[in-house]
């Protein structure tokens, strides 16, 4: 939930600037950009955030995120 008094922090998602309220979790970030955190992998600064921690891991100012959509073809 974004409120007027929230302090916003700037991050990049897939090379584009993005703002989220300070204290947002990585799972919040996923939903904020329209993605189900269960169905993507979230890479932060070249490390994949462990799936079971997405609801607790906090977004930090300056983080560089890449969203990895899985491919399953062969």
């Amino acid at each position: 939930m974004t409120h007027e008094h929230d302090v916003m922090i700037t991050i990049t998602v897939n090379d584009e600037n993005h703002e989220v309220p300070e204290g947002s979790t990585v799972a919040y970030l996923c939903r904020d950009i329209g993605l189900d955190p269960e169905k993507v992998a979230v890479e932060r600064n070249l490390e994949i955030v462990p799936r079971s921690t997405l609801e607790e891991a906090l977004v930090r100012a300056g983080d560089r995120f890449e969203i990895v959509h899985f491919v399953g073809g062969g």
């Binding site: 992998a41 799936r51 890449e66 491919v71 062969g74």
Partner: protein
């Protein structure tokens, strides 16, 4: 360990001269048993390179027949193979490449029930199947059997590949990457989304390279590294993947 014959010294000269492989590494390949699950766009080039490299035993697992729409990317097959089981056509093609290689062709769909028998005694599994349900089943079997898994996947212009040792304390498995949301998704993702044949070929030969890396120990160790190739740019990103403590396959705590 296998002693190399004169013909083998000649055939594998370009491997043997590599300081990271040498005669000892080539002998390891000749003694090795690799299972390739899925003889499709990834499996075909992987099989070609594994056979050419002299991997002594190769088990091919696939329950599908060759169709015309496969030929855009499945380079082991030709028009005369249409309608033939893929494992049979692949076995015939590999015998022409390298008679040193003993090929077992298993024309069945691998499942959690039959998989342990199919993969018994295998040194490494290379997964090039075409859906998440199969990939997760292969992962879970490899974890149970403590067998290294090279998992390579493609979609459209993107490839994703990693080598997994999930039974080890600090090593992730494939499920640590994709989670539990896809166990039921057994659609053929190539048919649904399309794929560029040449990129599948890259990922297949990449997967063969990683299998040979595991068998011979050349270069850098790959535990916990995931490579994502974007053919549109083209560029590859390599990221760290940690074991997820709550992973339902390899985790140490229940989620």
């Amino acid at each position: 360990m296998t002693d190399l014959t004169d013909a083998q010294l000649d055939r594998y000269a370009r491997h043997i001269i590599l300081p990271h492989i040498g005669g000892a590494g080539q002998a390891k390949l000749l003694d090795a048993h690799v299972a390739v699950v899925g003889a499709g766009g990834i499996g075909c080039p992987a099989l070609q390179y594994l056979a050419a490299a002299g991997v002594g035993r190769i088990t091919i697992i696939d329950d599908d027949n060759v169709s015309l729409s496969n030929l855009q990317r499945q380079v082991l097959f030709s028009e005369s193979d249409i309608g033939t089981p893929k494992v049979k056509a692949a076995k015939t093609a590999l015998a022409k490449i390298n008679p040193d290689v003993e090929v077992a062709a298993l024309g069945e769909r691998l499942s959690a029930d039959n998989g342990a028998n199919m993969l018994a005694g295998v040194d490494i599994v290379l997964d090039g199947t075409d859906n998440f349900a199969a990939r997760l089943a292969v992962n879970d079997l490899c974890h149970k059997l403590k067998t290294p898994l090279v998992s390579a996947a493609i979609g459209q212009f993107q490839g994703q590949i990693g080598t997994f040792y999930g039974w080890r304390d600090d090593a992730p498995c494939y499920r640590c990457f994709v989670g539990d949301a896809f166990d039921a998704e057994d659609c053929d993702t190539c048919a649904e989304n399309g794929v560029l044949g040449a990129i599948v070929g890259m990922m297949g030969s990449f997967a063969a390279m990683e299998a040979i890396r595991v068998l011979t120990g050349f270069g850098e160790e790959q535990t916990g590294r995931l490579h994502v190739f974007d053919g549109l740019k083209p560029a590859m990103r390599t990221m760290k993947l940690h074991k997820d403590a709550a992973c339902s396959t390899c985790g140490t705590i229940s989620g």
